[in-house]
Symmetry: C2
Subunit: 711 residues, 2 copies
Amino acid sequence: MNDLQDLFNPKSVAVIGASNKAGKIGYSIMENIRQSGYSGSVYPVNPREKEILGYRSFQAMPDISKPIDVAVVSVPAQLTIEVARQCGQAGVKYLVVVSSGFKEIGNTGLKREKELLAVCKEFKMRMVGPNVVGIMDTHSPLNASFAPGFPLQGEIAFISQSGAMLLAIFDWSRSVGLGFSRFISMGNKADLNETDFIWTAAQDPKTRVILCYIEDVVDGQRFLKVITEASRRKPVIILKSGASSAGARAASSHTGALAGSDLAYDTAFRQCGVIRAENMSDLFDLAVAFVNQPIPAGRNVAIVTNSGGPGIIATDSVEKYNLKMARFGKDTIEKMRVALPDEANLYNPVDVIGDARTDRYVAALDAVLDDENTDSALVLLSPAAVTEPEETAKAIVAIQQKHRQKPVFSAYMGGEGLAEGTRILTKGGIPCFTFPEPALKAISGMVNYSALHKQLSDKQNFAERTKVDQKSVKAVLYDALKDRRLVLLGNEATQVAQAYEIPAAPVHLASDAKEAEILAESLGYPVVLKIASPKIIHKSDVGGVKIGLENGRQVAKAFDSIMESVRHFMPATPIYGIEVQKMMPKGHELIIGMSRDVQFGPLLAFGLGGIYVNLLQDVSFRLAEGLTTSQIEEMITETKANTLIRGYRGSEPADIGTLVSTIAQVARLSLDFPEITELDLNPVVAYPDGAVALDVKITVSYGDNQEECLP
Amino acid sequence: MNDLQDLFNPKSVAVIGASNKAGKIGYSIMENIRQSGYSGSVYPVNPREKEILGYRSFQAMPDISKPIDVAVVSVPAQLTIEVARQCGQAGVKYLVVVSSGFKEIGNTGLKREKELLAVCKEFKMRMVGPNVVGIMDTHSPLNASFAPGFPLQGEIAFISQSGAMLLAIFDWSRSVGLGFSRFISMGNKADLNETDFIWTAAQDPKTRVILCYIEDVVDGQRFLKVITEASRRKPVIILKSGASSAGARAASSHTGALAGSDLAYDTAFRQCGVIRAENMSDLFDLAVAFVNQPIPAGRNVAIVTNSGGPGIIATDSVEKYNLKMARFGKDTIEKMRVALPDEANLYNPVDVIGDARTDRYVAALDAVLDDENTDSALVLLSPAAVTEPEETAKAIVAIQQKHRQKPVFSAYMGGEGLAEGTRILTKGGIPCFTFPEPALKAISGMVNYSALHKQLSDKQNFAERTKVDQKSVKAVLYDALKDRRLVLLGNEATQVAQAYEIPAAPVHLASDAKEAEILAESLGYPVVLKIASPKIIHKSDVGGVKIGLENGRQVAKAFDSIMESVRHFMPATPIYGIEVQKMMPKGHELIIGMSRDVQFGPLLAFGLGGIYVNLLQDVSFRLAEGLTTSQIEEMITETKANTLIRGYRGSEPADIGTLVSTIAQVARLSLDFPEITELDLNPVVAYPDGAVALDVKITVSYGDNQEECLP
């Protein structure tokens, strides 16, 4: 994939719609390019001007007749197609289309956007936008945007789908003194999108942390592959909004109903190593942490404070954010005992007491950072009579230099009196907050990244080790397609499962009571009878299931009773017959399922099953794409069901290996057959040796006329 | 209860340990009293001075010979007892003991603190502290503290257990311009504590919001009664730390194990209407909201923004904080359609588009606030070329004046360019944030307070309507006490339950297989056999339960099998015999339990029961003290079990009335018998008509030698 090197560090930039009139966007862009210190060639294009801001202006693109890497387009929307064509003919590599009037204004704009994209594709140009603020690279340097100024130089790349958000952050960042490597406005993402920009930032040596604000992901499958690789290189932190607007997805399976609209994003981000920020503050707190501090080796935090209350509050946050209070070794305690007064608390949180000057902070912080049990440190300071906020700040910065591999954070709790100390800390790279909580949230984010990062190095994909019989699946799907059925019959679904070595109890379809009796005799008692109808999803709810049938008489009676009950509840429903299944011994009831996400493909579920699955909602999720065996194992561990199957209160542990391979095979089946939209194995009964799905439900789609056939 | 009027607005103040030396605490206190503009009499006491800061200084207390309301004590700890005695003899009403060297330094200090308290009690003096910064009242005005200055005047009372926290907030509040009515440092809380100070602030006409930082509550039962009343008058917001340090409580019951160390506080706060702040930022965000804005009538929020991204982010937060997006009426939409450009989004979030000046904000905000479906509004502003942050700020303030009953919040997203606008908003009482999320969190906190407040008006206590037979309970407890048993036998526990009309299935104790058979015959089959031993809590885990026994032979066999299994697992355990119980029909398995909290008394639990109770952890909690019927109903509604018992997937609804009365009776039993420390009804099987506890476990304590007898 392209590293977009010529986009961010072009040899030449044309500005189409450049202007000499202050206040015009075409003027701001020119002014920004000039003021940013851009050293390449600049070609303003404006038929009515001879010169713009000291640059020779051209009538039109063909007049330039020099190689052009980037063309920034700021002309009325209806002119952009023709401009793009001229750019293509002139050999332009990248278009940055600032103009608005595209997808965001509705159908007319969408049509225009498609035409514009077609021209770009025709000439193999790549496009940023349309409808963007522009792009900035503080190291090239290049400011090809209409933002009011240039960001401070730094190592954070900020990529935003919202131009307003970009401008707001731009304004805010300058007032708090935060530096950036790149600001990228993605606009409508007609061509280049988050995946491209994150990837190119991952390759940019001047970028150490990648921040991203998005409202959606354009190509989920590509995102998963590429961003996994990007996250291996540097932290990718994303604020994804729109969780509330997506609404619940239509779903006819348990798994589908459990997988909320935002869940696939959550799962995708975690699976490819992305840290998901909860809000704007967290996004930047994390960025500041990653840019300035090393990643902690573990969860153990040491706290040094000059007062008890804030120490307790910080300790609470340590627990809240899944960190641990470091337990110091004897040496550390002894070192502090010598240096600190008797009343000091030498255990974590270390309290150097209200009358502490800088020397006590130095002794304590140095000692705890020396301790191998400390992975990170947080220094708290409250103003008291003898407190030395500035001297202490300088000392903290110096001590951290001595312990470069361990991150140090601070909370200076107070106002004006501590402002200079805060400034010294911030300048020295020690993130400083007013209250302790956000510091610990940031440390926790770093530790979580570290855990995700380790996971990414485990590349062992489950799929290599399994057997599949695609032919049998196709045969079943062919029958269903012929009838245009969207829900497979029980015996069909079971065949599909078995073709992928997914253990499923065989079912046989009986069309009358006599046939059911004969099937039961051949299977052996006890048996279960279940209604077979493409429209009935919750079979128990309509009296469609009878269990524990011990003989032919009971089977015949159950057959009639089910028919009567189902006819009563759902008189107009088509019924294919009644399925006869051998009754399996009792065991832990689990669910394994799949629901296909529009963006990210098959989303797998595992958890407590049975009829209470929706009530208990004890389910964990993973995307099938790129899934590894250890991720499947982790997926199982996250559930309460895990406690049960590991041997709960005297019961024998279940066969975890079979569960792992079953999940892996469901993943493989889902990846191999995109036409399978939903799959529920519920319950899967887990035994000490093996597991078996008692009910397999598979929903398919043929990509046309689905509405007519949907159950 | 005392309103402490003479403490916060005294006619005279003595300062014992007053000093003329700058830097001394006794000097700071004198300086603060003088500079605060205190208008009463001031009597410095210092044997070596004639005059201090212009006030005549006294050799000792007896020399003053005038009535003294408050004596501030700042002398070495060892002298405080004698000083207190002199104060008592001089008729001082309140001591404010600034001196440290008490409980906080260990046993010597604790002894001293007790002596000091005894002297106060002897003379009927009330004490603040010891180990405090002091107290401040900006309206009296009086600054009887050693804080570096006086807070800005306002309507927030801040009560802090930590002096350092108080000083930190003091410093911070001055730099952000936040005003206070009172600052109270509680120190060691030997006498006056949070309950007293919250109550007096609730009565103070100059205080509108009460903020409190505490690490513990001194007297839980009194806190519950008094703070419930305080919350009825004004918002009480508490940050309680120390959740992590308390550790898990020792517990031998399911309920005890489920009730975490911090849970009783959470429950207590909610039950008496207190808003619990998650952290320092929330504490003050809420305070600012309550002081400046009216309480919203409901959850419907209107959002007005000049850019899409922030609007989406705010919409996400609306959902996250359990608020709702207001749905505007046709009139509102029409009003906005006339005033706003075509591209504007007229539905919530209202987007007035990036080129909006003040007029569009005015039109939109006025329209949405006029709408009866809007309960509160949030205005978002991102900087763009034509944005008018200051003009818009003024307009927002003016519009809110027009709609005084609806709160308005703002988020000005940016930096320096928006600082003046932010200042105008803050000054005008419109809380202004950098990002939208904390604004919505504050609105949510206000709405939650409103809901809690409504609940407090429902005073109907369950206890009036129920019958109890205390004699039978005492008879059972007497037998247990004689044997010094801490866990009642099954049949004893059942008798206790039945005495309080708690429905429990009768159990009978059999000492051999023959007796079990005879009991089973008399009860009727099928029956259940359960091991009876004071040491066995999880009976199933050791093979101590056999169910569904259909005849005498099965009973005899089960008896022997249980004995063998229990002897195998727990060879040294005392066994009282085996309990025989009639087997009850199947139904929803629930748990109702009680675990006695050290601070707040009986803590009741309700949820999904059976053997998976600890695994599923679907349990809600309430304190028995002051519990109302509607709180019990709410308690049931909070659980997943609620879905089940209301009739889940075709099953008949359970008898909720019986569950409510059973919980009420458990509450009553627990309040009547403090010696009952834990109680588990698990499972309680709920039927469409009635419910029955199959297993009743009651643990008692006799207040002495408990360790020896504990199971």
